[in-house]
Symmetry: C2
Subunit: 549 residues, 2 copies
């Protein structure tokens, strides 16, 4: 039996393009004389479709595509993901399903049982869980077909769930396991996923086809890395990360490999390389799927905008990126020269738009309100907002998307100007702590000094008043980032943080900064998610609250 | 038996203030010689606490308050809402619970079974559902104690759920029903709620105490309106809407009332009055709970900002509201005179900050980018963003919060400038369609012409280019709003909308406008929710999608 794995990049709601990709892969599989071709979770509509699922029209379109796939697949079997309607009146209206299509018709629809409802996941908002488990009979083989999370409770070891779907399927003695997934990337996820797959195979002693979605959907980046594992628990093949791939496997070879001492082909990439590649894909798909080509961004001379510029040039091509320098009276000389040098090294054009005249005119216009008050955060933010206004004017005039360059440390403590440097269509590094931004810069410079060293080594500054330094307002980033990581990623409270050795007054100050700035994060652009806990849909905090604040 | 109902305004995470309110009500109840006092759902921590629930420290603080309440309640019984830990390893970590406290200790903890996970609700994200149903024995009475949604599946008629908690409790023959709720307001909710309460009493023939939360938590407005119903299904008493109230009832009187022909005391308020009162409370609590006094807003001469100004003055006091007029070369004469007249009638100060010089300086500064291009949306947005910059400069200088004045029709079709008129700490009428804004204006003017008639009767215009009218870019509002309502509130697809009689090309155009502007709504301020489907947490749409767009 020959089985094809299609790791495709779908687009939410773009039924035409999704069907085309599925159709092309089916044609490849047919040419390759495959018996079966497997697609990822909700491939028909893209994942996550969110509240589009509440539109009956949307589900009808999914059903139409399923019918078109069935028409396409008269001589080959297909496993493809799509929502299906719950025929019972009780419970949620839909299932998250894997369709098994054979001989030009839907032979079986298998529903997902474990519905992730945490972090960025809202599946129980839409889907009814499955309680009725059966394998799929395909010729002389029985397939344990499952959807994503269903293999994540091996032997009931996941405290979130009370049933183990694959255990249930084992009663019917399947020959191999298929799991169709849309498992979003974070820098820990690839290792976690591999552990879970190994645990499944260790328990069930069966070959496993794990087919993951690849491609970014706004903030969520799906990294692919689909895996074929033999019954001995060795990775027989792993598909590349962050790109579309199609591959074919002979089930006999896979079975035979379990008896030989074949090497394990698991791909382990360094954390910072994964983040780099994920961000490049995230930018590329955001623009591509929205139908835009060109990015604009403010280039300050600091490390954040430098790194974002490089990532954008890699994602979109250097001809499609315009950095804009917007010096003020508080800008240092090197801010300009370092920025110009970076643009030159990258081979990108740049624009210089000084803000001084508009800043002066604004102060003049605001006299009735400002008169007699000392220079404070109002004047600082004014500059940042004039820059944002310039950048947005360019986007409106020439169809750019503005890239936001705030990092996670700033976003966490609210060290940024709402409607100023917090603007943009997409936040590229809003899930990357400042110390990780440095790592990214070093990774980018690993072969040659693309980002001028002076940008990396200078002390971070917002340059909104004379001789300002980030360290005037914030703890040093290595300490701040460790503390933020424990609070945000690990949900440690103030007592635990002090027990870990953080200074109590620092803990109180930083936690308060994080919590009182929820109102700012509420209005930020979508942030490319690369960590297990990013700001955005995966972290839902009250704005009007009074806790550690 | 004497029972007190405490309809209080809690603040998420503000354990000190929440405990103080609970303590005060307990003292009232003790003075009133009550046997039992009932508080609303999650009153200890405020509702909805969202991801604060993932912090062990947060749950510990809830437990501490429960202990303090128990210490306070040595001579009176208390029913109060708080999260409780799930002792089992499997399933979610918490329950959403009603604590029954008697003789100074927690006698029983009843868990919520039906966990709303739709629209603005995410309860299954946090809570494990209850499966084990028992009444609470209190002296010679048995109480069917339930939490919010648990009474919303009367006789299994709600298609969302498969069990009916109150049916389960009936096996133990309770004497009366208590339901503690945090049921957010929308203009349909009060009637729906009353129908559900009546259906419960019709089925179980028992008196019912329904205790609801009152007060706003950012976007969500809880309207109170707690109800005591006798076994005959008559409303024995209904607490006021949108304000804190404490009342006492004698169970014997309540029982007796079911046998007499007592009148039903249900309060039915007109829709537009409810929306008005809800918005006033929403503004008041947003400021009060964040510790701010003063609001600023741009006053354009149009109806939206006029209505918001009146609502803000009613919520915060006229001395705490500053409207700012920011005329440009495209502003009509009446924009200024109408605005000044409104401020005068309201008795509020106003500020005039013309934008022309900054606009001209900006065009000059942007010449390298704008040169040779015709006037387009870039110049329009530039003006809106200069105004936003002025307003934000005032907030930063003098500790105002900027009120956003966009209406729901504009927000839906993206007729607004991101980082311009879409700015603000809070969107007051972002869930009110333009046609409803007119109704609000007429309601405000019902006794006297507070809002000058010219503001109400003039044709809506953004005044960002010569002789601009909303109707140049948008369908007439009465048609647009009907279409938007069917698409947004009722989730009707294009086919259904055409079947309803809407013009097909209009449907395609409007649905496309709604869907391609998701990126703008992603960055808007929290919107006070008054409809059953508001933009915000209750409507989760992909930004990068391709569906009806």
């Amino acid at each position: 039996m020959k089985i094809a794995v299609a790791q495709n990049n779908y687009h939410i709601g773009n039924f035409e393009s999704n069907f085309k990709k599925i159709q092309d892969s089916i044609q490849c599989a047919r040419s390759g004389k495959c018996d079966l071709v497997i697609f990822s979770e909700l491939s028909v509509c893209g994942y996550p479709p969110r509240d589009f699922l509440e539109f009956s029209d949307f589900i009808n379109r999914c059903d139409e595509v399923i019918q078109k796939i069935a028409d396409e697949a008269k001589d080959i079997a297909v496993i493809v993901g799509s929502p299906s309607r719950n025929p019972r009146l009780e419970g949620k209206d839909l299932f998250n399903s894997a369709y098994f299509i054979e001989n030009g018709k839907v032979e079986k629809v298998i529903h997902k049982a474990l519905l992730p409802t945490y972090d960025i996941f809202d599946e129980y908002r839409y889907f009814e869980p499955n309680h009725d488990f059966h394998v799929v009979q395909f010729r002389d083989k029985k397939i344990a077909l499952s959807v994503c999370e269903d293999i994540w409770n091996v032997g009931n070891e996941n405290p979130l769930y009370t049933i183990c779907p694959v255990d249930e399927l084992m009663r019917e003695q399947p020959d191999f396991i298929v799991n169709i997934s849309a498992s979003p990337f974070d820098y820990e996820q690839t290792e976690k996923r591999l552990r879970v797959l190994r645990a499944n195979v260790a328990r069930y002693k069966l070959p496993l086809f794990y087919v993951n979605h690849v491609g970014a959907q706004t903030d969520l980046i799906f990294d692919g890395g689909s895996i074929v594992m033999n019954a001995a628990g060795k990775v027989y093949d792993e598909l590349p990360y962050f790109e579309e791939t199609y591959r074919e496997y002979d089930l006999n070879d896979l079975t035979a490999s379990a008896k030989s001492q074949k090497e394990d082909k698991a791909i382990i990439l360094p954390k910072i390389q994964k983040i780099h590649d994920a961000l490049v894909l995230g930018i590329k798909d955001y623009f591509g799927k929205l139908g835009f080509q060109k990015a604009i961004l403010g280039l300050s001379g600091g490390i954040d905008s430098a790194v974002v510029l490089v990532l954008a040039a890699r994602a979109l091509g250097k001809e499609n990126v315009l950095p804009v320098l917007m010096p003020s009276e508080f800008s240092s000389e090197h801010s300009i020269s370092d920025s110009v040098e970076l643009a030159k090294r990258l081979g990108v054009m740049h624009e210089i738009l000084p803000i001084k005249k508009v800043y002066d005119a604004s102060l003049e216009a605001l006299k009735p309100v400002f008169e007699g008050t000392p220079f404070n955060i109002a004047e600082e933010n004014l500059q940042a907002r004039i820059r944002a206004n310039f950048l947005m004017a360019c986007t409106n005039k020439h169809k750019y998307i503005l890239l936001n360059t705030s990092n996670k440390s700033e976003a966490a403590v609210g060290y940024g100007t709402l409607y100023g440097d917090m603007c943009g269509g997409l936040s590229v590094i809003g899930d990357v702590y400042k110390t990780e931004v440095y790592e990214l810069a070093h990774y980018i410079n690993k072969d040659a000094e693309l980002i001028p060293n002076n940008i990396i080594t200078k002390a971070p500054s917002a340059e909104l008043r004379p001789n300002q330094k980030d360290s005037d307002s914030l703890p040093e980033y290595p300490i701040l980032d460790k503390l933020l990581y424990q609070y945000i990623e690990k949900r440690q409270g103030p007592k635990e943080l002090v027990q870990m050795g953080f200074n109590k007054s620092l803990v109180d100050r930083v936690l308060r900064m994080v919590n009182i700035n929820e109102f700012k994060r509420h209005q930020t652009p979508p942030i490319l998610r690369v960590s297990p806990k990013a700001f955005g849909m995966g972290r839902r905090m009250p704005i009007v609250g009074k806790y550690l604040s």
